[in-house]
Subunit: 206 residues, 2 copies
C-alpha cells in the first residue's frame, strides 16, 4: 500500500501555476486586462501556451484565480494592519504609505475591479472583499472615534468608514489617470488633524 496520504504531484505544478498568476499580475499593470491574451501570458510566464489550457482550462478561470489569490493577499494585509493595538493615526499613516508605494498593486486591484464590472461572478467576489475590508477597519475606526472624542459627532462609525474608504478609492482612481492635484494637501491636512487629536488623547491619559 502506498502510504502517501495524497497523490504525488510533480513539484513543478504549483510552481508553474504560480508563474502564470504572477505573469498575469504583471500584465495587468503593463497592458490592462483587455490586452492580455493567452500567448502574451505564456510568453510573460516563460511557459508554453498549451499550459494555460492544461492548468486553468480557460482564460476566464485563470483570471478568476488571479482575482482570488490577489484579494486573499489584500485581505491578509488589511487585517494585519488594523488588528494591531497601535493608535489609529499609526494605522492611517501606514495605509497612506501603501498608497504612495504600491502603485502596481493598486493598478492590479483596479484592473480586476474594472473586469468585474462586466462579469457577475467577479463582481460578487469584489463586493465580498470590500465588505471584508470595511469589517477589518470598523473596530479600529470605532476605537479611534472614542479615543479622539468624535463618537458623539455627526457621523456614525459606518459613515466614517465609508468616508475613509471612498476617499482612498477616489485618490487611487485619480492617480491612475495621472491626477495628483490636491491629494498631498488633503492628506497632509488630515494627518495634521489626526496628530492633534492624538496629542490631545495622550495628554488626557496623563
Amino acid at each position: 500500500m502506498t502510504t502517501q496520504p495524497k497523490p504525488i504531484r510533480n513539484a513543478n505544478r504549483g510552481e508553474t501555476e504560480r508563474r502564470f498568476l504572477d505573469a498575469a499580475e504583471r500584465l495587468l499593470v503593463e497592458v490592462g486586462y483587455a490586452g492580455i491574451t493567452a500567448r502574451k501570458l505564456a510568453d510573460e510566464a516563460g511557459a508554453n501556451l498549451g499550459l494555460v489550457h492544461y492548468y486553468f482550462g480557460s482564460m476566464e478561470e485563470l483570471f478568476l484565480q488571479v482575482l482570488e489569490r490577489f484579494t486573499n493577499q489584500l485581505i491578509v494585509r488589511q487585517r494585519a494592519m488594523y488588528a494591531t493595538p497601535a493608535p489609529y493615526i499609526e494605522k492611517w499613516r501606514e495605509a497612506m504609505g501603501y498608497l504612495d508605494q504600491d502603485r502596481p498593486y493598486q493598478k492590479i486591484w483596479f484592473e480586476l475591479q474594472a473586469m468585474a464590472w462586466n462579469r457577475p461572478e467577479f463582481r460578487a467576489r469584489v463586493a465580498r472583499v470590500h465588505d471584508t475590508w470595511r469589517e477589518a477597519m470598523r473596530a479600529a475606526v470605532a476605537e479611534a472615534l472614542v479615543r479622539y472624542q468624535l463618537a458623539d459627532g455627526e457621523l456614525s462609525t459606518e459613515a466614517w468608514v465609508t468616508l475613509i474608504v471612498t476617499v482612498n478609492e477616489g485618490i487611487i482612481l485619480e492617480r491612475l489617470s495621472g491626477i495628483e492635484r490636491g491629494h498631498d494637501e488633503l492628506l497632509a491636512a488630515i494627518d495634521k488633524w489626526l496628530a492633534a487629536k492624538e496629542r490631545k488623547a495622550v495628554d488626557a491619559r496623563n
Copy 2:
C-alpha cells in the same frame, strides 16, 4: 460658380456618426469597453460594418470620439450646475441626485477611464476633464466655505475640493461593484450637516 460655401454632404452623415457614438455608449454600459467589437457596434447602431472604417477609420479613433463627445457633455453639465448663484447645499443636492439617477452615465464614464489607464492619449484627455471639473467646483466651494464659516478651518479650498471629488468617485466605484453599504448613511449625515450650516447662514443674514 457654385455658391455653396461648403461642399454639400448627404444629410445622413452626422446622423449616422451620432448613431455610432450612441451605440458605443450603450455598449459601454452593457458589456464594457473590452467587449465592444466593430461588428457588435455596427449591429447596435443598426448600420453596416463598413461604415466604421468609412466614418472613423479605426476603432481607436471611434473610441477617442466617444471620449471627446461624452466628456464635453460632462463638462457642460458640471459647469451649468456650479455656475448658478444658488447656495452650496442646493448644488450638493443636485449632484447627489445625479449620483442616484445617472447610473448608466457613470458606467460610461468609468469604462472610459478604465480604457484610459492603458492608453496615454486617452489618459491625457481624462486628466484634463478632471482638472476642468475641479475648476468648475472651486469657486462654488470657496463661496460655501465663507458662507458656512469654514474658511479658517483645517482644510484649504483645494483640499475640500479633493475631498468632495474623491468621495464621489469612491462611491461611484463601489456602486459599480454592487456595494452600497454606508453610502446613504454618509450622504444623509453630510446633507444634515450642510443643512444646519445653511440654516445658520440664513439666520445670520437676517
